[in-house]
């Protein structure tokens, strides 16, 4: 996707950035607004053409870069994402909702009608899809940035990489490596605390182990994780109940393939 054509950063007029929201909590967009030190300088380099959370000024597409937050859960959004793709030169999906379905994808393992009945007095008013689908399940995506929420420094790196037409430098190793780099004592080895760090994508800076708790995998799977082995260890050596293992695979990134497959295996084991 990144070739050695003209960097779009130097284009005149400045490149147009759009930020789109689908089903989500707004936390990933907020990470952009949380760039207090960088926001105004970013705004000087790009034309923030569409960002409803932050601006009532709306410019027409097409857009050079679209950041897409959230998953697809309604019939209207199935249509809207196609239009966003048509209008966008590069489409970057941001966050666990957009890359792995988000917490709302727990419906994919359940009966959405029953969910609606539990929450709403008039389920007939609710238009929702049976499944929550990541953006890549609907349209081609140029880059996926994981995390619930994403890390703002990684986001700035990805935007800047696309502006300069180079590959984004986003590490795809595990939280464990970051934990070592941070100089933490391993909470699993030292205290027997179950931790998803070995299979989880880096980016948060290994926060949970630094706060004495096990990683619950909010950044989703790292590249090529050995999830099966990890679950085996939780089960055999740490005596973690099967339901808790399934819960850790199925929280914010339930549709990430390595988590999904493993959770289904475990669920079946549990039922057997």
């Amino acid at each position: 996707m990144v070739s050695n054509q003209q960097p779009i950063a130097s284009s005149n007029p400045p490149p147009k950035l759009a930020v789109w929201k689908f089903t989500s909590c707004d936390g990933c967009q907020l990470s952009l607004l949380d760039c207090e030190d960088e926001l105004l300088s970013l705004a000087a380099q790009v034309d923030i053409a569409y960002f409803l959370e932050a601006s009532s000024e709306v410019k027409e597409g097409p857009f050079d870069i679209s950041l897409v937050e959230g998953s697809i859960t309604t019939p209207a959004d199935e249509e809207r994402i196609l239009e966003v793709r048509r209008q966008s030169r590069f489409l970057i999906s941001i966050g666990a909702c957009a890359t792995a379905g988000g917490i709302q994808a727990l419906r994919n393992f359940a009966d959405v009608q029953e969910f609606t009945d539990v929450v709403y007095a008039h389920p007939e008013y609710i238009a929702t899809l049976k499944e929550s689908t990541p953006i890549s399940g609907r349209v081609a995506v140029d880059f996926e940035l994981q995390g619930c929420p994403i890390n703002k420094h990684q986001l700035l790196e990805v935007i800047s990489a696309f502006l300069h037409r180079r590959a984004p430098q986003v590490a795809n190793h595990s939280v464990c490596i970051d934990c070592k780099l941070r100089g933490n004592v391993c909470i699993w080895v030292a205290h027997g605390t179950p931790c998803m760090g070995p299979v989880t994508h880096a980016g948060c800076g290994a926060i949970c182990p630094s706060y004495n708790r096990g990683c619950y995998a909010c950044y989703g799977p790292k590249e090529n994780p050995n999830t099966e082995s990890l679950c085996h260890w939780w089960d055999e050596k740490l005596n973690v109940e099967n339901t808790l293992i399934v819960e850790n695979l199925r929280n914010f990134n339930p549709l990430a393939p390595s988590f999904k497959v493993q959770s289904e295996d475990r669920q079946e084991d549990g039922e057997r």
Binding site: D26, L30, L39, E57, D77, V112, V118, I207, Y211, R213
Partner: protein
Amino acid sequence: MADRSKTIKVDYLARVEGEGALHIDYDDSGVQNVQLKIFEPPRFFEALLRGRDYLEAPDITARICGICPVAYQMSAVHAMENALNLKPGGALRMLRRLLYCGEWIESHMLHISMLHAPDFLGYPNAVAMAKDHPEIVKNALEIKKAGNALVRLIGGREVHPINVRVGGFYKVPEARELTALVAQLEMARDLTERLVRWSAALPFPSYEWRRDNHYEFVALTHPSEYPMNEGRITSSAGLNISAQDYENHFEEEHVAHSTALHCTLRERGAYLVGPIARYNLNRDKLSPRALQLAEEINFTAPCLNPFQSILVRSLEVLHAFEEALHIIDRYQPPAEPHLKTEPRTASGCAATEAPRGLLYHRYDIDEKGKITTAKIVAPTSQNQKTIEDDLRLMLPSFMHFPEDKLQGLCERAIRNYDPCISCSTHFLQLHLNYGQVQSKQSMVTGKPGQPPAR
């Protein structure tokens, strides 16, 4: 008549969190119909929490909202503790207040600087405003950063903190980690004093239309503190109940035009939660500098002008800084980061003051600590009816305005509430119908080439 019949159509109301629309029908005889339509896709939290572990409630409910995750975490842990009969006191209680101060600062400053202030000065966004008023935007960002620093230290990160646990925290900070923040907090507090004076001088629209139609203000009240985590649920019309009694007095209704449930007070209908309600019911408990400054600028209670919510928010930010500094000054780390928690079959509920107002959670858990039922009532669903009433009452006084100005005022009246639609569900569409005949005139942002409105 035909020449006066028109439709104002705005494809989206920006600078709010979440997705919704507004539909207003009016003609010469008055306003016929006002619907604040919240169509943020449902996320089914109350359903998907069932079967999950009680310790997961603060991590999962935080994902209801990226702007105020701490509020969800605080209400969740308090409700679970209410079920388990635990009462973290002393330093743990103070640390939770400190974390909440951080979120009030972050969230209020986001709203003040990025979403609300541009309304008063006539800009589409903070970036454009920064070109002409760089000091205002830069100072606001500095203030917000100090709030972020607090949340990051105590919670682990600014959005979706990881350190909140039923019974307390996973890890508590050392005193020196907190005192390292003091200089930044003091600097930000001083900037906030300037922000309060600046917001007091903004041109506020009048509120005559509300004079005979009083709001019922609802907020927590605590005997000695400006309310955050604890207190009784009180109102300007004399309500005074414990959180346990919430569901006996407040009810939720599902209307066709909204995926957020509408709340009413059983006896009396619409009510208002949020900064103005908190301030009106608790002004005397503001921190000394905040109270003194309120006196100095002659800002008394009750505040009845919803457009002044920006001023109340800045006073609350000042309060939060003073409170934070006060807590840090007295902080001694607790012996244990959290109380011991043992699940058992039980039910519990709690209400806390999210930046946007009262937030209620109730849970039932089984003997293994698995959640069997969950109920969550977000501030924005409680305010929906009051927002609709504001529009209904306000419009007749401003009918003489040109259409674009009128529609701008409606959007502002909604933004006063800082509606957090993500909490229930993303953007607002505004349709103003004048009479029956609709023309194709697209007044503001309904530009071609945009993805279809929802």
